[in-house]
């Protein structure tokens, strides 16, 4: 996983509540047993003119040339609700998004972001709306900065917006850590706990 420290990038606004993972990547776009090859299906239902097609719908924000290369997404509350499909995070990451700013995230989706190097930044709705408005006049030059070390977003008007993120997620993202490797350092502890638990709850162990 690529470490994330700070990022200054074009921010694309999709500030709408309850954007679900079916919208982020429809079932029909999940065509292979793989974490790759999903960027083309990102937001397919909105991004293309026909189901299964690839003709861009000019009205969709990511098809607007001024947002080409966007690495930050500005979103609405409860972003990533619905299906747990990690394909949503894989598709966003492959498309190039490294940070998503939203008032709230679905918990499973949020975990999937952290495990794929995307920083989920929670900011109040007013802050998101404000950042979106300051970006809108010239998205290609009015860039947004996400500083994970300082836990701070800087809008193009210079306004700063602190955010909180739990230490575990921050460490994973900052250093690009693999959670399995970290946990397996505690293998002996896990085995001891399982052994003791097996005495107490033998019916659990099949």
């Amino acid at each position: 996983m690529t470490p994330f420290t700070t990022l200054t990038a074009i921010a694309a606004p999709l500030v709408r509540p309850n954007i679900d993972t079916d919208a982020i990547i429809p079932s029909r776009e999940m065509t292979s047993v793989s974490k790759k090859g999903l960027a083309g299906g990102l937001f397919a239902g909105w991004r293309y003119t026909a189901v299964g097609g690839r003709d861009p719908d000019p009205d969709f924000v990511l098809n607007n040339p001024v947002y080409r290369g966007a690495a930050i997404l500005l979103a609405g509350e409860n972003f990533g609700c619905g299906s747990s499909r990690e394909h949503a995070a894989w598709a966003l990451a492959e498309y190039g998004f490294r940070a998503i700013l939203a008032p709230s995230f679905n918990p499973i989706f949020r975990g999937n972001c952290v495990r794929n190097g995307i920083v989920p930044v929670e900011l109040p709705t007013v802050a998101i709306t404000w950042i979106a408005s300051t970006v809108a006049e010239a998205p290609r030059t009015r860039l947004v900065t996400v500083d994970l070390r300082q836990q701070m977003v800087t809008a193009p008007d210079g306004g700063t917006h602190p955010f909180s993120i739990e230490p575990e997620a921050r460490e994973m993202l900052l250093h690009g850590l693999d959670a399995i490797d970290l946990t397996l350092l505690r293998r002996a502890e896990i085995q001891a706990k399982r052994q003791a638990d097996k005495e107490r709850r033998p019916w659990v162990y099949l």
């Binding site: 709230s104 659990v204 099949l206």
Partner: protein, 470 residues
């Protein structure tokens, strides 16, 4: 410190391996369930990294999300690349030494339907699955929650997860549900009142007289929609209803071990005086049969009410989202939903596909016919549900009424098996998500109970099942 603990706190403490700091803890995971859409990729990725499954005896996989549900099905699906998911999951499951309920196995079915059926989920267990509706299984008193595929790899490789401790919320449902009001209606009622983000950050304990009165199947339906409530998961304290349900199931303990387990399970309740971070109450008597009008499960109203004006739903909606939902669904504020012509009716999914659901729908369909021009489909949640329903003759009732009677799987809840409803079709559905284009291109999905789906199929329009005589 009062020493009084919630059921969640008891289960959490029992599974704690280490405190990782900053509110994150390492927890033992007792069961991992997988399906071919998100599980196959997890198993393959794990193997590619050279890692092994730590406790293969405690891992189960099934085929439900990609397989189709047409009679005579095999590894081929309508979705051109579906076969790869099925064969890859089968190969990876074999290589990992885990139990697979494959196509043709009488135990195959939707993961959250078969786990209780087989006694895989038990009270007090921690159980995870890369599927958001894993919360359903809290109905049996387990701490069961949905995760992503990468987290599933972690659970497989280490028999643990690194989890941030959720806050606790109790939802007490006082009184009794009225005749003709189902657990699905209760779940939609709660969503309409408290919003699709209403339980964000919480583990929800459902309690109260109305919850106690539910069967295990009813509790599964109620807990199923906790993910639509943004909850970490839901749980219901186990009681004799659960113990009676589980006794004799294939993976449940037997003999002296059963007695030992039940004695432990009887301690799994929230102590009097246990403190919840949030508590809400619901009056069961005020719950009516519900249906959704928009594109979020929170867009739910009593069947006999009109589509709400913006000011009546404004707590959970922006104006733009509200207008978008109205336009997408082609519904009008102030106008009733009942009476809107439908193109299709669907009974199935992890929400409402168990034998009690099918019985209640069949009771309304007996001696009646699906209206001309309506496509009606019933998909039992598991092969075992299908067999049980057929033993009672329910398949004949559905078929005689004009429903398709399918093999078990997730089916047209989404795009499972590569099937979906037609462009802009209006569908009444016993499933859990009315998202844009989930059931087909620009399909207009109305979530409701199996009874409402059955009554609407017969009427050819959205209809109130209470007006049909059984």
């Amino acid at each position: 410190m009062t020493g009084m603990r919630t059921i969640f706190e008891k289960i959490w403490a029992e599974h704690q391996v280490a405190d990782l700091g900053g509110g994150t803890e390492l927890l033992l995971v007792d069961r991992v369930l997988l399906h071919e859409r998100t599980g196959g990729v997890a198993l393959e990725s794990l193997a590619a990294a050279g890692r092994k499954v730590m406790a293969p005896g405690q891992v189960f996989a099934t085929m439900d999300h990609v397989v189709d549900t047409l009679p005579g099905r095999g590894d081929r699906t309508i979705m051109p690349t579906g076969t790869a998911f099925i064969t890859a999951t089968r190969a990876a499951a074999r290589a990992a030494g885990i139990t697979l309920f494959d196509l043709g196995d009488p135990r195959q079915g939707i993961v959250h339907v078969i786990s209780p059926e087989q006694g895989i989920v038990l009270p007090g267990l921690t159980l995870v699955c890369p599927d958001s509706h894993t919360c359903s299984q809290g109905a049996l008193g387990a701490l069961a929650w949905g995760i992503g595929s990468t987290e599933a790899e972690h659970a497989l490789a280490t028999a643990t997860l690194r989890v941030r401790r959720p806050r606790t919320m109790r939802v007490t449902v006082n009184g009794r549900l009225a005749q003709g009001v189902t657990p699905k209606d209760l779940a939609l009622h709660i969503l309409a009142r408290h919003g699709a983000g209403g339980a964000k950050g919480y583990v929800v304990e459902y309690a109260g007289e109305a919850v106690r009165a539910l069967s295990v199947e009813g509790r599964l339906t109620l807990c199923n929609l906790a993910t639509e409530f943004a909850a970490f998961t839901a749980i219901i304290a186990p009681d004799d209803v659960v113990f009676d349900y589980l006794q004799g199931r294939p993976y449940a303990p037997e003999g002296a071990r059963w007695d030992q387990a039940v004695a432990a399970w009887r301690q799994l309740y929230s102590d009097d005086g246990a403190v919840f971070d949030r508590a809400i109450t619901i009056d069961a008597g005020a719950v009516a049969p519900m249906i959704t009008w928009g594109n979020s499960p929170q867009h739910a109203i009593p069947l006999d009410q009109p589509v709400p004006a913006f000011q009546d739903v404004a707590d959970h909606n922006t104006r733009e989202a509200y207008d978008r939902a109205l336009s997408y669904m082609a519904v009008t504020p102030g106008a009733p939903l009942v009476g809107l012509p439908i193109d299709a009716a669907f009974i199935g999914s992890c929400t409402n596909s168990r034998v009690e659901d099918l019985r209640r729908a069949a009771a309304l369909l007996r001696g009646r016919k699906v209206a001309a021009g309506v496509r009606a489909i019933c998909v039992p949640g598991s092969s075992r549900v299908k067999a049980a329903a057929e033993a009672e003759g329910l398949d004949r009732v559905f078929l005689d009424a004009g429903f398709e009677w399918r093999e078990a799987g997730c089916s047209m809840c989404f795009f499972a098996g590569g099937e979906s409803f037609g462009h802009r079709q209006r569908v009444v559905t016993s499933t859990n998500r009315n998202f844009e284009s989930r059931q087909g291109p620009e399909t207009r999905s109305h979530l409701a109970s199996p009874e409402t789906v059955a009554a609407s199929a017969v009427a050819g329009r959205l209809a109130d099942p209470r007006l049909l005589e059984v």
